[in-house]
């Protein structure tokens, strides 16, 4: 069965493209939350008063889905306290006053990798999580059944407006990426590596093609610049033609999908032993004086980042982690850059303007734009009635929350927001059912 996955032409607004990344210096302090990934929060391994250096482990991953966390500056731990996350919950966070030395920890050493087990241990030790935004612990992804891993899809689509940090990875961190691809394909039975990039990133395409020519069974796939090209299922379909069924993972069709910056972070650790302690972040939006990509230590406060970029020229309406289509709003300017922050966008009221919600005129734009052919307007009606049978029939679990429906809706109805609520409703129902069956 063949599909034509639709989507949208969203404004690119890649104002920071072709500008070099600038490294932040003179960090006074960082606040590193113990939850920068999907899964259980890590446990702090330092206490107030401890001296740490760049790369000192400060958070031990809990068992299962979790991740290691490292100090991003050298200095003294001054506070361990809860901070608020974007989701509304709180998590313990380690504040380190920098001594300005940026001294590297003695434990940082190039890992020895001679087997798959050692490689997995290294990926776990690197503290790398899905850096495209999801924050899924990378070692867990690679700990799956290796016999299923046929293709490695490297996601360089970067389809969200504003963001250019992945493009910079593909031009500036070719060595890191190449190292990671060589080692991953050596210890895992991957037959083909595809680097998928949207057509509007010419320099990234050129640099990746050059790298691919040095590697075996590696190719660059140029995809049309249509949002949400970087959605995992969309990307797998457009690079391999394989359809991932609802509820299934890319691995079920033989694919491992990794963001390009995740790959570079693995490569960087394998080469130097320095775990993930800094992040290249696109700082943009109408409120930012000098939009640019900034390489900042993890834990740097957003207020410091904006100051480094010349400050804010207007009072922002919203500040986002990530792009405007799927990014999350930040509650507080003291919120830190975390592992999976790829952009910080300060939107002016004009940029963030949303029209008034009016009645559905049944124009069908939502269903005709949905990459997966869902019917968000009908899902909204079913959700209002809490009709879970209908929600299942409308396959709301297929939704990846890309937001095309809400973006295009002339009545600005909260379509993707209701899809998310509907998915939660079905999750709750399943949990209740499981509890009933358990009794």
């Amino acid at each position: 069965m063949s599909f034509f996955l639709k989507g949208l032409h969203v404004p690119h607004r890649k104002n920071t493209a072709d500008k070099p990344a600038v490294r932040m210096t003179d960090i006074k302090s960082v606040t590193i939350p113990m939850l920068m990934h999907i899964g259980a929060p890590s446990t702090p391994t330092v206490k107030v008063g401890d001296l740490v250096k760049v790369g000192t482990k400060i958070g031990e991953g809990a068992g299962g889905l979790s991740s290691e966390i490292y100090a991003s500056v050298s200095g003294k731990v001054t506070k361990i306290a809860d901070i608020r996350l974007t989701g509304g919950g709180t998590v313990p966070s380690v504040t380190i006053e920098s001594d300005g030395e940026m001294a590297v920890c003695e434990t940082v050493a190039v890992p020895t990798v001679t087997s798959r087990e050692e490689l997995l241990a290294a990926i776990k030790a690197s503290g790398v999580v899905g850096l495209g935004g999801a924050g899924f612990p990378t070692y867990v992804k690679w700990s799956a059944d290796p016999s299923k891993m046929e293709e490695l899809i490297i996601n360089g689509a970067e389809c969200e407006p504003y963001i250019t940090s992945d493009s910079l990875t593909m031009t500036d961190r070719v060595d890191d990426m190449e190292t990671a691809i060589r080692i991953l394909t050596k210890y895992f039975p991957i037959k083909r590596t595809v680097i998928a990039i949207e057509s509007n990133k010419k320099s990234a395409i050129a640099s990746m093609q050059e790298m691919a020519s040095r590697l075996e069974n590696t190719e660059v796939k140029v995809l049309p610049s249509v949002y949400p090209q970087g959605g995992e299922k969309v990307l797998v379909y457009h690079t391999t033609g394989k359809v991932i069924e609802t509820g299934k993972l890319p691995l079920d069709v033989g694919c491992v999908v990794c963001n390009c910056t995740t790959i570079a972070a693995i490569g960087s650790y394998l080469k130097t032993g320095m775990p993930l302690v800094e992040k290249c972040v696109t700082v943009d939006g109408g409120c930012v004086k000098n939009p640019q990509n900034v390489i900042a230590p993890i834990g740097t406060a957003l207020s410091d980042i904006f100051e480094f970029c010349g400050g804010l020229t207007a009072v922002p309406d919203k500040i986002l982690y990530g792009g405007p289509m799927m990014g999350v709003t930040v509650p507080d300017m003291s919120s830190p850059v975390i592992k999976n922050t790829n952009a910080v966008i300060a939107l002016t009221p004009k940029e963030a303007w949303l029209p008034r919600t009016t009645a559905c005129i049944r124009c069908g734009a939502c269903t005709n734009t949905c990459p997966f052919g869902l019917a968000p307007a009908e899902i909204l009606l079913a959700y209002k009635k809490k009709d879970t049978e209908m929600l299942k029939k409308l396959s709301v679990d297929t939704c990846m929350l890309c937001g095309c429906c809400s973006y295009i809706c002339p009545a600005n109805r909260p379509l993707v927001q209701n899809n998310n609520l509907s998915k939660q409703l079905l999750r709750d129902e399943r949990a209740k059912e499981a509890a009933r069956n358990g009794k």
């Binding site: 069965m1 990014g327 709003t329 009016t358 009645a359 396959s395 809706c409």
Partner: protein, 308 residues
Amino acid sequence: MENNMLHISASPHIHSGKSTASIMRDVIIALAPASIAGAVIFGLRALLIIAVCVATCVVCEYFYNVIVKRYQSAGDLSAAVTGLLIALNVPANIPIWQCIVGSAFAIILVKCVFGGIGCNLVNPAITARIFMLVSFGSMATQAMPKIVDVTAGATPLELIAGGETPAMKDLLLGTTGGALGETCAVALILGFIYLLARRIITWHIPVVFVASVFVLSYLSEGSLETALALVLSGGLLIGAIFMATDYVTSPPTAWGKVLFGFGAGLLTFLIRKYGVYPEGVSFAILFMNILTPYIERLTSHKIFGGVK
């Protein structure tokens, strides 16, 4: 910088800027050529009729919303589009009071009592045209063009039924008898091109609708010329381009639209050929409006990766 100034909301944080009003504005622009043609062909009274119908529709929607305390939708231009379409569907010599009654009927009884925009089951303008046709004798005696001498006092459809074929030039330019906005094929096709270019509608319904009528007429009449004349006559073009494509009362998917267009074409042909009324477009669209929920059920999108 005050932290409490930041807004928290669920994504997405930007919008396409499209709105109901912007869509309706495009429809009005697309109807401008037909409106101007109507005024040129049938005289300035056409403009009076347009003004009366539009004003009645907007005023009715405004006061209805005030009375039932619903949010004010009179400004979204959808009532204006309904009024404009009603005006373009009546003959230029219709009494003004009938325009007011027809427009009020469309907005209050067909649109507002069902819940306003998006909730109406059938197209208000089409239903008003049918309501006026069966209620008022004036709708049956079509006005004749003012700018040319028309010898025969018959509409093109009546001419064809009588065995004559109207001149192609008259059909294209609209210098024939009929409702004030339906006669000028060139103006309507210009509007169609505009709607396609602005991506307000897709080609499916108008093209399939018109093509079905053309093919069926050709098979029945055996003459390409007559079939073409039948396509350009009566309310087919304005109905297929502007009224059958109403979002609310037509299916959203491509295949649904094809089915809708074919059904409307078939019914138009059958009513024209065998019915008591010379024109069947309005009845055909009304009937397909009612069938739309069933067509939607038959033609929903296949879901990518959906598990049945």
